[in-house]
């Protein structure tokens, strides 16, 4: 049984906690590091940076990725930038301000100590990335350029054109590949973790499936680091990559790791609407577009004229109307919800009436087409490539899409889950973004965790294990896990039903989006609580996975979708229990008179950490109370 959750947050003044704690933690001497085996699953920003750093320090590291190359992890798709409290612009930024913005942006549902540490380490990330050769944008004088982003009042975002994630990932990947060449890091590509192995309550390794041959093998280690990203693909349509999945964290959850705040998901307002029911994913357009674009729909739902024929008097600039001071620049969650409500009213635009206009006509008239091209040319090109419409001439159509998951496995201040030896980094953990993540903060967190937090906290854990051997892979604990993986694979291959995996995934996505998406209410969530198990049952009876064990993409999808069913149900359960609105979690029953998200700090100022109790048994919720000593809890307002 799990007792009270201990977040391991150190005492003392906020500004000194991490510095002091680094001194207090135990070390592993350089000559002893080679005696430790560390497994890292995932090779995105968090995984690659951790692997590179731990390899340099002398640990024996094994990295597993389901991609053909570690460089393909979805961190690569991040566009906008990475925040750091460098204050290079002298415009009033500081570690405390970045901390404050992050904790407020998260709607006061994250730990002060974690967020402060993140803000502190942000500056080191930039230095490290520059040293690796990340080609950040520069001023003519050769110094680093910054821009403002995501509603921040300071310019603290570093960027490499629209490909910041790509460049930061390549930096970490290259540093890791150096260690591969030196032999400290062993790389296993096209290898998917399908189970975590726990013996006597302690993490001892993983079970992995070779996706080319189908062979299932065991790997033991003193510690396992899950750096496997978020679970937005539970919605089927999202901005995530197609392979992004929750299997590694979900299998760890089923082996005892608590899942924190599963219902906290982020919907990004500026994505290209789906064009038909076979749409496979949604494409994000940088939210910087809202700086110049005006968002509107026709006043009258029966007005089907082309947008240029609709006069201003027949348009509803709904954000400007409802939020006169912030207008089109309200935060992501507010913009998204308002777009949803006008589309729900039947006033959506486009062939499927599933979008709102983002109109640059006025801006082009004001500053000229050339200036707009300079600011957003690459985004306009991308839009045209996908939709075949020229946004210089006709308004863009946009609609919100699932983008990021703030929830994830519960970790303490050391990034260790409640299962000793299991660490969780990056988007896969729940820790730093509360109920809503600010723009340009995901890259920051992944790299802070991998480069600057885990090397210290992992040593603190391993120091206590000096002289202990890893559990041999012929131990019954490994046999048991291997058998269970083999059984699942065999079962999926033998059902031979009538429907494809994608069919079930799409159906699950519809239930999730309808009832646990941008706005949630009790009736919808309760409906989802019955629909998901019914669909899951159908999946296990009727899914059709053709082919055998060797390189079988349908099989890979099937194992992931099977886990999405269980996770989806937990998300709904969490959303149902949290009878407040916070950040990305909007409960219709909990809003202000003006229709804004209303928190209930008396009842819900805690992290909900869910414990798996077995199939068909209700999970147990363990609350970790959140304490705020350095910030004042306020109600957000954007009028």
């Amino acid at each position: 049984m799990i007792g009270e959750l201990d977040s391991q947050v150190p005492d003392g003044p906020l500004e000194e906690r991490w510095t002091r704690h680094r001194f207090d933690m135990k070390l592993v001497a350089p000559h002893n590091r080679r005696r430790f085996e560390v497994i890292i699953v995932g090779s995105g920003l968090a995984g690659a940076s951790a692997a590179a750093t731990l390899g340099e320090q002398g640990y024996n590291v094994k990295v597993f990725t389901y991609h053909d190359s570690p460089r393909r992890a979805h961190s690569i798709a991040a566009q906008g930038g990475i925040n750091a409290a460098k204050n290079y612009k002298g415009d009033g930024d500081s570690v405390f301000r970045l901390f404050y913005d992050t904790i407020k942006g998260g709607d006061f549902r994250s730990r002060e100590s974690n967020v402060y540490r993140l803000a502190e380490e942000s500056v080191n990330i930039i230095d490290q990335a520059v040293a690796q050769g990340v080609p950040f944008a520069r001023e003519y004088g050769g110094l680093l350029d910054n821009r403002s982003f995501g509603g921040a009042q300071v310019s603290r975002t570093f960027y490499a054109r629209g490909q910041t994630g790509q460049q930061l990932l390549l930096g970490a990947y290259q540093q890791m590949m150096h260690q591969v060449a030196l032999g400290t890091v062993k790389l296993h590509t096209r290898s998917e973790m399908l189970d975590l192995v726990v013996k006597d309550g302690v993490t001892c390794g993983v079970v992995v499936r070779d996706m080319v041959t189908g062979a299932v093998t065991s790997h033991s280690a003193h510690a396992v680091l899950l750096c496997t990203g978020g679970y937005g693909n539970v919605f089927y349509l999202s901005t995530n990559a197609k392979y992004s999945n929750a299997t590694a964290i979900w299998r760890a959850h089923r082996r005892g790791a608590l899942f924190g705040n599963p219902c906290f998901t982020q919907i990004h307002p500026t994505c290209i609407p789906a064009s038909d029911e076979f749409q496979s994913k949604l494409t994000l357009m940088s939210e910087s577009l809202r700086n110049d674009g005006r968002i509107w729909v026709p006043l009258d739902r029966d007005d089907t004229r082309s947008p240029d024929m609709i006069p201003d008097s027949a348009r509803d600039y709904f954000l400007e109307r409802k939020y006169p001071s912030f207008g089109n620049l309200v935060p992501r969650d507010v913009a998204s919800r308002n777009a949803k409500s006008v589309v729900d009213e039947g006033r959506g635009v486009g062939p499927l009436r599933n979008g709102v206009y983002l109109d640059f006509g006025e801006a082009i008239g004001r500053v000229g087409e050339d200036t707009i091209r300079e600011r957003y040319g690459n985004l306009f090109d991308m839009y045209e490539r996908i939709t075949d419409e020229n946004p210089y001439q006709v308004p863009m159509r946009i609609y919100p899409a699932v983008h990021y998951t703030m929830g994830g496995l519960w970790v303490d201040y050391h990034l260790m889950s409640n299962v000793p030896g299991l660490f969780v980094l990056g988007e896969a953990n729940f820790s730093d973004h509360g109920a809503n993540r600010l723009g340009a903060s995901a890259l920051m967190q992944g790299l802070a965790d991998g480069y600057f937090v885990i090397p210290y906290t992992l040593a603190n854990y391993l120091a206590g294990l000096l002289g202990e051997r890893t559990v041999p892979t012929d131990d019954p604990a490994f046999d048991h896990a291997e058998t269970s993986v083999g059984d699942t694979v065999a079962r999926l291959l033998s059902i031979n039903g009538t429907r494809s995996v994608d069919h079930f995934h799409r159906e699950l996505g519809k239930i999730m989006w309808e009832n646990c998406g941008m706005a949630r209410n009790r009736a919808g969530l309760e409906k989802a609580m019955t629909e998901i198990p019914a669909l899951r049952e159908e999946f296990w009876k009727d899914v059709r996975v053709l082919g055998g064990g060797a390189l079988n993409q349908s099989l890979e999808k099937a194992t992931r979708v099977a886990d999405f069913f269980e996770l989806g149900e937990l998300m709904v359960r969490d959303a149902l229990h949290r009878e407040e609105s916070a950040g990305g979690h909007f409960r219709e029953e909990s809003q202000t008179d003006e229709g804004e998200a209303l928190r209930d700090d008396d009842r819900f100022a805690y992290v909900a950490a869910w414990e798996w109790n077995g199939k068909g048994t209700e999970p147990t919720m363990h609350p970790e109370p959140l304490e705020f000593e350095n910030v004042k809890l306020t109600q957000r307002s954007y009028k």
Binding site: S49, A52, T53, E56, D68, S69, R72, H74, A77, K86, Y88, N124, D127, Q128, A129, V130, A131, Q132, G133, P135, F136, A137, R138, G142, L143, L144, R161, Q163, Q166, Q167, Y173, Q174, Q175, M177, V180, A181, T189, V212, A241, K242, Y243, S275, D276, F278, S280, T283, L284, M382, R385, I386, D388, P455, S500, D502, H503, R544, L546, A550, L551, S554
Partner: protein, 267 residues
Amino acid sequence: MSLNGNGQHPTIDVTLHVWRQAPGHEGKMVTYVEEARGISPDMSFLEMLDIVNERLIAKGEEPIAFEHDCREGICGSCGMMINGQAHGPQKGTATCQLHMRKFSDGDEIFVEPWRARAFPVLRDLIVDRQAFDRIMEAGGYITAPTGAAPDGNLIPIPKEAADAAMDAAACIGCGACVAACPNSAAQLFTAAKLQHLNLLPQGQAERYRRTQAMVDTMEQYFGSCTMHGECQEACPKEISVDFIAYMNRDYVKAQFKNRKLAGQTAP
């Protein structure tokens, strides 16, 4: 041509010829006619393959295996020869961002995997591109252990240098350059990765060691460059062959520099 379900969008019918190859077996082209009917021009090429696969599964046939992930042109996973062109007919566009409106009703489309000895076929359209990682391992990095970095603004980098490095660093590692090359050479990939680092002040310390190591490793796996320039045409990120010239210059210099450095460090 026909109308789709809601009667709004005209759809197109195409004939697909796809390379099918099971592991350890010989491959062959297989033709799909029924499965590729009623395709919306707004679909991406990969979404068209998704539909074909759904229809194959419904018939009890194994779906076509193809690599894909981000579907927004940045991860570099996807890539196939479409009518003999790497990533198909649209310039500067990866397969995932190619849309069916680039094709017409009645078109025959031939889809094959990258063809290169260094990229063995694993199944259908999926090839093994690990040789690229071997080149990176050999020297595609700047040695900068975590924790040792000076302040990011300590080394001013002229904007032009940063921009040129970024032009090279935009490479997504898809392998189209190799597939498009009549010699299956990997010069454009290697040059892009190399010059990204060689153009920056931080990359100077290891410049010649890096150049020699990466080029020598490349040559173990790939063919030789005879400057056809097909790679630049096929590159979804439109990386310039100029970088190959820079690489060749650095490689020649490296022959002398590395010898000299070795001489200096000898007893």
